[in-house]
Amino acid sequence: MSDAELDPVIHAPVRLRITVTLSTLREGDYLSFSRLQQLLDLTPGNLITHLRKLEEAGYVASVKPVSDGQARTAVYLTHAGRAALERYTAALRQLLDQATP
């Protein structure tokens, strides 16, 4: 695999937006499913589909913090996810540099 190959798990509009949005959180923080859905303006089903793909790759993990006695799902970017986004961003920059002589 050459350096400038784009990770197909991240290189899709919805998953790129999920990954980048979660990367703005500080490490140790997580974002509720409903706030993420509202930020990205997605249907729950669409968001779940893409979150599952990111979870399967080990980039995203979920927690169920209990507040007011009821559990709400929240998600965060794992270390592997942050590293993958960094590699993706670097590869993207490399490809763009190659495209503009």
Partner: protein, 206 residues
């Protein structure tokens, strides 16, 4: 947007940038707004207090109208802080939420202790001049200390220097007496907040 739209390299870079800007704008607390609100409250409120005590011999204390202006300014700044913080923090859990809760509680705790202390000073017969100095310099000591410590939690140098500046204004202002300290609060204290607001806005420019 379909499931797996083919994404060009340039499109992907633009989408990444746009998403990052959008997320930061929504998820990060608007610090310039908070500093700006407190700077305005301090500048206008303490400015009014200063005008109302100007030329008092002996010092009797600020007029009711001036205290009302300061009170209204502080109330507005509290509302602005609560709204912008609540909006950004909604849905965020984990370390930041716990830090934010403890940080948030330190404010009413610090001011409750300060006002109780000023009440005790009144009770034990402090003169209007002493009460004026305590009431004007005390809040900046609380603000300055909380900011310096909280800056360590978020590694925020502008907040750190703002805290240190407000401590300096309180210490120097107290020595200028009950009239002078109000002018110091307004110009140097409020000015410090406004300068921090401008600096953070400049730091956050994309």
């Amino acid at each position: 947007m379909a499931d797996d739209d083919l994404l060009g390299t340039r499109q992907a870079a633009e989408l990444l940038q746009r998403t990052a800007d959008h997320a930061r704008q929504r998820l990060v607390v608007n610090q310039p707004l908070i500093y700006g609100a407190w700077g305005a409250a301090w500048l206008i409120g303490c400015g009014a207090m200063w005008l109302s005590v100007l030329g008092q011999h002996p010092f009797r204390g600020a007029a009711g109208w001036a205290s009302a202006v300061l009170g209204a300014g502080i109330a507005l700044a509290i509302v602005a802080t609560a709204i912008t913080t609540g909006r950004a923090a909604r849905g965020i859990g984990g370390v930041s939420a716990r830090q934010g809760m403890m940080y948030g509680l330190s404010w009413p705790a610090g001011f409750a202790a300060l006002f109780t202390l000023v009440g005790a000073a009144t009770h034990f017969g402090a003169s209007p001049a002493v009460l004026g100095v305590l009431g004007a310099a005390g809040p900046l000591v609380v603000v300055g200390l909380i900011y310096m410590v909280a800056a360590g939690m978020w590694l925020d140098w502008i907040m750190f220097w703002l805290g240190g500046w407000e401590l300096l204004v309180a210490a120097v202002g107290a020595w200028t007496g009950p009239v002078g300290v109000l002018l110091m609060d307004a110009v140097a204290g409020g000015g410090g907040f406004l300068a921090a607001a401008a600096l953070v806005a400049w730091r956050n420019r994309s």
